[in-house]
Each structure stands twice: as C-alpha cells, then as structure tokens.
C-alpha cells in the first residue's frame, strides 16, 4: 500500500479562549457534553478538546459539575437515550463541544435548559461561492458541494465549484500565475488542471453553451421528500439494520426437490447448542435411516440420528462447518437401500398425548432450532418463566435464502399443525407468524390457509435486515424489549423458526427424527440453484459438484462458500464438511477485488453505529481488538452482539469487524466462566 494522504475531516474545534471565558462568565454550574468526533483516523480514544477546555478555564473549570463524552452526538436515536439518562438538575446550563449538528440536537432535546456551544464548526468547501462542502465516506481530498447539477462531465472529472475559489463554470479567470491560483497560491488553478485532464482524454475542453448555475436547485420540496423518505426507510420497524440486495429471485420460485442420494454422509455429533452427543456407533456398524447414532449428554444437548442406511466407515474429527474447528463426526457409507429404523412409527393423534409426552418426543427426535442457532427445542419449550406469546419466525431476512419461504408456501398445513402442537405444550394465548413483506406468496397462502386457527395471526413485516433476529422480531410484533443479556422468555415470548415447527410436525405426526432439512443453494455461478431437501451430513463436495459444477477445492480461489447467507453465514474452509441441522443454505459468492480485512484503519464514519440493531458501537471492537485489548469488548457490551454482520457489511473501510467481535465474545465468555 503506497502512501496516501488522508484529510482530517474533524467537524469542529474549540471556540477561541476569550469567547469561552465570556460564556463561562454567565454560567453557574455547567454540564459538558462532548462529541468524540467523526471522519478522522481513529488513533486514540480521547478527545483533546475537553482537556483544552479545562486549560482555558483555569479556576472557572470548577463550574463544570459533570461531563460525558458521546460517540456521534448527532445520532439522535442513541444520544437521546444517553442524554435523558443524565441528572441535569445539578446544573444551570449545558455546554456542548461538537459541530453544529450536535449542539442543535442537544438544544432541541433539552428545550428549556440553557445550552451553550463551546465549539465552532470547521469549514470544508474551500470556496466561498459554494459555501458548504462534503467529503465522501472516506478521507480523500475530493469533495462535493452537492450542487445537484453536476458539471464533472464538462470538466474531465475535476469539480470547478470546489477547486476554484471563485467557483467559475466557464473557464479560468486569468489570474493564475505559474499554474497557481491567485486566491491561494498553494492551490493549482482548477481550470488549468481541467484543461490538462480533458486534453489527456483526447477531448476538447467542452465549452458548450455558457453554464449558469441554478441556485434554486435542489428544490426544497425534493430535499424534504428525500429526507423524509430516508428517515422512515432507515428507522422502519427498528433502529439500525439496513436493506441489502435481496438476491432471492434465483430460487424464490423453485419448488423444494429432493437432493440426489449422497454417497456418504458426515454427521457431526455436535449439531446443537450445548454438550455434544455421545456416539452410539462405531466403524463397521450397519445402521438404518433414523437410527439414533448419538445420545444427548445432559439437559442442554440433543441426540443425533442417521440420515441414510449403510455402514459406519469412520468416527473421527472433521472440520465442523460452523465452528470451523475439528469436531467428532460419524461418516456413513450409503447402501442405497433406505431401510428405516424400527423406531420410526407414525405418531398417535397429538391431541391425546400429554404435554410431557410431546416434549419427550421432541427431545428424542433431536429437534433443534433450524434458523441457524440450533438451540435444543425441548429446552426452549420448557421455559422457567410464564410465556404468553409464541412467535413463529418466517422472516428469512438473509439475502439469497428461500428455504423457509418455500416451506411456508408448500407446507402450510404441516406448519399450522406443528404450531398447534407447540400451542398445546406452552398453553399460550397469542401466536404470531412473522413474515417479511417481500414474501407475498407465502403471506397470501398462510393468511388464507384453512388450517390456520383463530389464535394465529399472520404478521406482515417490513423487509429489513435483520428483521428475523429474535430481538427485532419481538420488538416489532409485541413492542416488548428483551433486556440486555436477556432471553425472549424474560418478556414472556418464545420464538421458533418455521422450519423447526415443520420438524416438530414430522417428529410427532410421522415419528421421523430430524434427519433432513430444506437448504437453499444459490449464489454467483450456480448452475443448478434451488431449494433442496437434503439429508443431514450430505457433503458440501457433492453439493458443489451438483450445483456449482465440478470445481473442487479450486473453487476457493475465485469464490467464497458460505454456509448460510452472505451476512450471517460461515465462510467454509474445506468441502469435506456436510449439512448440519442449522444449515439454511449454501451460498457461493464471487470474491471481490477488495476484501474485508482486520488490518485496515477505522475513520470513525459512524456507519456501524448507525446500522447496529443492538445499538452497540462496533467501531470499538476493532479499535481495541487491533490492540489486543480483548477485555474492552465487555465494556462495550460485546455479549449483546447478535453477529448479524450489519456493521461489517456497511464498514466503509472494510474492516472485518466480526473477526474482532468473535474473539472479544469468546474472551467475555471465558471471563464470565472464571
């Protein structure tokens, strides 16, 4: 990486000392709020301006009765929460060190309090005929004044409004000496640069008709409409998140097909949260479809069953597709006979089964959450606290994926029956199915299904990522906020994925354990994209051969293979792993010329804060992670992170934030244990 000049776009600096002293003359007790700045290299976690203020004030600094540094003070949503939690009764005024946005926001929030600004904004345009200038989401020299009548086509891509202090549109003023501007000899004459650039491109300096700027642009109305549109778009349903390209078209209308019978399957003994299952088979054993091959080990654990009939060929460690660490797996060679285990018998009418019996079946059949987290379902359905609401999650907000969508379209009856089973277990009064409004077909089918009981309400939710995350979903549907570090059951709610409900149906009504699931296979360069019913343990290798062409491990040169979707999915290192219970999809993504890296520097653009649905400040995870100060993650509530990936997706410096977050979470987890 060559040397690059970065501009420090800090938006403000302290007012002149005399002015500050003047303000302090009229002040008794003051509380100071200071913004931690934006658009500068994030090199140290400290705001000089506050120390400077103390210096200027000398004895007067005793008037300061409290202070608070806020990241991105102008983030009204988060800052409001912070400011309203302050006890300002101790002071008669509030001083703000920030740009004009922060001050105005504080003054608006604390209407009636005396709010003083202690800082001046720093001008940016460099051109007093276009007074305001804006940079991009990076710290380059190039700026734009948002004139809404871009002249760059005429000027070879050099903006005359920003680069010429007179903002001339029709050629140089004639005042340049040796190519330098007469207003500021440090500057090159913009029009000479324009002339050179255009010449290089083999174009003539285009002097079409004389250009006259239209200062009535952009119309107020347009600006207002766009602002409003943006504000509603950004904050619809919940704070944070974003609207990614959905990329669902490719498999949206593909009916679920059975994936060709795998030659072998690699079934991990850990396909659930909690302790891994104890193996019940050894190499050489002949086993049947649905036979239990691993026994639950403890309360939070789950049994594992074989998805095919055949011979166990190994019991050894393989790379687990989720943890990416070596983990014990049973590899079975398919005999192609599909002989079912004797334990598989259609169930009796569930209405006549006791609650305990149903729960036991759900445990025995190895049902876990299929949305990806794989939490043992019977544990979830045995809540230690009263539950009044059940939410079935059919959001599937990840791009590319359609497995839940297809289940809802093709199996409404099974889903509603599954819901009735859960309803019986939990005895809840209110049941919702939450579906994003981009899944119109599923919504229509569910709403009009004859199997839908009156206790179930189908909720159409705005399409926004991560609407499907439990906490967002609960907030959107019930208005309740799951407390920090809390669980849905703390607010009387249980959330189950639609595919989990289907698996419950299969287990109770047909006696089939969780040995297969629907997986969306999609992405760049997919030959046979689709939604496939796959047996657990089907190796990625066979899927890649079938759907992406026979690329083998070569694939990783050009592509990234993700188990799950592009945002929350896990990037695979080898093709030897296989489908597990939490595999919602396999997505192939072409590698981008610039990939996320842990090396790059944060410029405090604040966008990660703006998209974090958990209202965290992800930039600090990278900042302290890079320094190896993993314990700092706890201070910034890393345990609340749901790893939705919004911050990494949006990061303007392409920093792999999730890498840091995972390490900090692990640190937090370990220190909790200790």
């Amino acid at each position: 990486m060559g040397e690059v000049n970065l501009v420090d776009y800090t938006k403000f600096r302290l007012k002149p000392a005399e002015e500050i002293r003047e303000v302090f003359k009229g002040v008794g007790k003051i509380f100071i709020l200071y913004c931690r700045k934006c658009y500068k290299k994030f090199e140290e976690d400290r705001v000089e301006e506050f120390d400077e203020l103390l210096d200027i004030l000398g004895e007067d600094s005793q008037k300061i009765v409290g202070s608070l540094g806020v990241d991105f003070l102008c983030n009204d949503f988060l800052s409001k929460k912070k400011i309203s939690s302050l006890d300002l009764s101790i002071c008669d005024s509030v001083g703000v060190i920030s740009c004009g946005l922060g001050v105005q926001f504080v003054a608006q929030t604390l209407e009636g309090e005396l709010v003083y600004t202690l800082a001046d904004s720093l001008p940016q345009s460099g051109n007093s005929t276009s007074e305001v200038g804006y940079h991009g989401i990076s710290l380059e020299k190039e700026k734009c004044c948002g004139c809404s009548q871009c002249y760059l086509n005429l000027t070879g891509g050099i903006c005359p409004l920003i680069n010429c202090p007179k903002g001339l549109l029709n050629g140089p003023c004639g005042g340049a000496k040796n190519g330098k501007c007469e207003v500021n000899p440090d500057l090159d004459c913009a029009w000479e640069k324009i002339y050179e650039r255009v010449k290089k491109q083999g174009r003539k300096l285009i002097l079409e008709s004389p250009q006259i700027r239209d200062y009535s642009k952009p119309p107020l109305k347009l600006q207002k409409d766009l602002s409003l549109q943006n504000q509603t778009f950004r904050d619809e349903s919940f704070y944070g998140g974003f609207h990614p390209l959905e990329k669902k078209e490719e498999t949206e209308e593909k009916r679920v097909e059975s994936f060709p019978e795998p030659k072998i399957v690699t079934i991990f003994l850990s396909q659930h949260t909690g302790k891994k299952a104890k193996p019940l088979v050894k190499p050489g054993d002949k086993i049947r479809v649905g036979q239990k091959i691993g026994e639950a080990d403890g309360f939070i654990s789950s049994p594992v069953h074989s998805s095919i009939s055949g011979k166990v060929i190994s019991l050894k460690e393989e790379i687990h597709p989720l943890s990416l660490k070596k983990d014990l797996a049973v590899t079975v060679e398919n005999d192609g006979e599909n002989k079912f285990d004797s334990s598989i018998k259609p169930g009796k009418d569930f209405e006549n089964l006791p609650k305990d019996g149903l729960l036991k079946m759900i445990r025995e059949k190895g049902i876990v959450g299929l949305g990806g987290a794989m939490f043992p379902t019977y544990v979830k359905l045995s809540p230690p606290k009263p539950i009044d609401t059940l939410i079935i999650n059919g959001c599937e907000c990840e791009p590319y994926l359609n497995s839940d969508n297809r289940m809802m379209i093709e199996h409404p009856k099974e889903i509603f029956t599954g819901i009735s089973i859960v309803e019986k277990i939990l005895g809840v009064k209110k049941i919702f199915i939450g579906v994003e409004d981009n899944k119109l077909e599923a919504l229509t089918i569910l709403k009009s299904s004859p199997h839908k009981s009156s206790s179930v309400e189908v909720a159409s939710l705005k399409t926004k990522y991560p609407q499907g995350a439990e906490k967002m979903l609960i907030k959107r549907i019930t208005g309740r906020e799951v407390p920090e570090k809390g669980l849905p059951l703390d607010v009387g709610v249980i959330v189950l994925n639609v595919a989990t409900v289907f698996a419950i149906y299969e287990a109770i009504m047909k006696g089939i354990p969780l040995i297969q699931r629907v997986v969306t296979v999609s992405g760049d360069g997919a030959i046979k994209p689709g939604n496939y019913l796959m047996k657990m343990g089907t190796p990625f290798k066979e899927i890649v051969e079938y759907s992406f062409g026979n690329k083998g491990e070569e694939l990783f040169k050009e592509y990234e293979l993700k188990m799950g979707g592009p945002l929350m999915g896990t990037s695979q290192l080898s093709l030897n792993s296989g489908i597990i219970k939490g595999t919602t999809g396999l997505t192939l993504l072409r590698k981008f010329p610039v990939e996320a890296s842990e090396e790059r520097e944060c410029i405090r653009c604040g966008r990660c804060v703006e998209v974090c649905p958990m209202e965290l400040y992800p930039l600090y995870y990278a900042f302290y992670g890079k320094r190896g100060e993993w314990e700092k993650g706890i201070e910034y509530q890393v345990e609340n992170c749901i790893e939705c990936g919004c911050c990494e997706f949006i990061c303007s410096s392409k920093i792999s934030l999730l890498g840091f977050i995972k390490k900090e979470k692990e640190y937090a987890h370990n220190s909790n244990k200790a």
Binding site: L101, C147, G157, N230, R234, S652
Partner: protein, 212 residues
C-alpha cells in the same frame, strides 16, 4: 454521505451514446439512498453500448478504487468511456485514477440535512466556522432561515411560516420562542456581526493531511 439522482437523459445521452461504455455503480450509500430503479432504466437504454458493468462500493475511497480498477483494467482498456453512477466524490476519484479515459457521470449530487454527521436530520450545520448558536437558542439561523439572517426575522413570516418555504417554520420565530422559554430573550438584543467568509477558504485549506 451524499445523495444522487439520475441526470436528465437529454443532458447525458448525447455525450455517451455510440461509445463503448464501461459502467461503474457505487451502492456504498445504498441504505441511505441510491436510485436503483432509475439507474436500471437508464442502463437499459444503453444496452448495446455497454461492454462491462460492475457494482463497487465506496468509490470515494481511493485505495479501494485503485484495486477495483486494476482488477477490471482489461475491460476498462477496451472501453471508450467510463460511465459512473455515484456521488460527485466517487466520480472525481475514478476520473483522477483514469486520467486518459473520458469518465462521465450520470448523476447529480445533492445533500440532505444532517448528513454532515451521521443521520438525516431536521437540522443542519453550515460549516460557517463561527458558531452563532449561543445567540440563537441552539437553532441555527444560517441553515434554518433561507436568507441566513443573523439579526432577527425579515418580517415576511405568516402564521409563523416562512415566506420562502411555507411548509417551514420561521427560524427566527423558533429562536424567539426557544429563548423566551429559557428566559434569555435579552440575548436577541445583541447585534451580531456579519459572517466571515474568509474562514471558508483559509480554514478548509488548513485542514491537516495525515499521512498513512
């Protein structure tokens, strides 16, 4: 963070039609606003002229754009012109890295209140370099009054609404109300000196450039 709009077709088509075009779109601020549908419609009209099309985020980051352009260099070489869909910053970066190639923009850029910071807001900062908010109850007269008046209302407000934009409140009435509430109406009697426009040139140029 800036907002882009597609330019009128009659302005841009004569410049680029019948050229072999390489198209670069920047969805970097997509969650803010990117006129995706308009872009699609526009590109469809140019179909035959297009020899390559890529969507690359953060065209405002020179380091990234260098990598992108290296990766797509062959295609770009074949192209007669590059057409960029991004804000003014992105276009300037791309064209400065492709000096020999005509780089056109298909967009006009505008700015929304509050983007100076983080989110679209109902208030804005004009980067004046001499904050007046201490005299105006924390309501900026430069950005809220279309005339940017510093010494009180122009008298044109009707029912508290601005005569330039009847949907907007008169900034000076808001300022008056705010100061009245905090018992500081006396502040309004101070005659504020005119803006110092020199600051815009001298102080934006004195910004520190940090090497990395």
């Amino acid at each position: 963070m800036l907002i882009t709009q597609i330019k009128p077709e009659e302005e841009i088509l004569p410049k680029i039609s019948l050229k072999r075009l390489f198209i670069i779109e920047c969805p970097g601020c997509e969650e803010v606003y990117f006129p995706a549908e308009d872009v699609e419609r526009f590109i469809n009209r140019l179909k035959e002229e297009i020899i390559g099309r890529v969507s690359l985020d953060y065209l405002c980051n020179r380091e990234f754009v260098k990598e992108y352009l290296r990766y797509y260099s062959k295609k770009i070489e074949e192209a007669e012109a590059v057409l960029v869909f991004s804000c003014g910053v992105g276009v300037q970066i791309v064209s400065s890295l492709l000096e020999d190639k005509p780089v056109y923009t298909a967009c006009d850029t505008l700015y929304l209140k509050g983007f100076q910071g983080l989110r679209v807001q109902d208030f804005d900062c004009d980067q004046c370099g001499e904050c007046y908010l201490n005299y105006t109850g924390g309501i900026c007269p430069l950005t809220n009054c279309p005339k940017g008046l510093l010494n009180g209302a122009c008298g044109g407000a009707k029912d508290g609404k601005c005569e330039v934009d009847p949907e907007a409140d008169c900034a000076w009435i808001l300022i008056y109300e705010r100061l009245k509430k905090s018992g500081k109406l006396g502040i309004l009697k101070k005659v504020l000196s005119p803006r110092n426009y020199q600051k815009i040139i001298t102080e934006s140029l004195s910004r520190e450039e940090v090497k990395r």
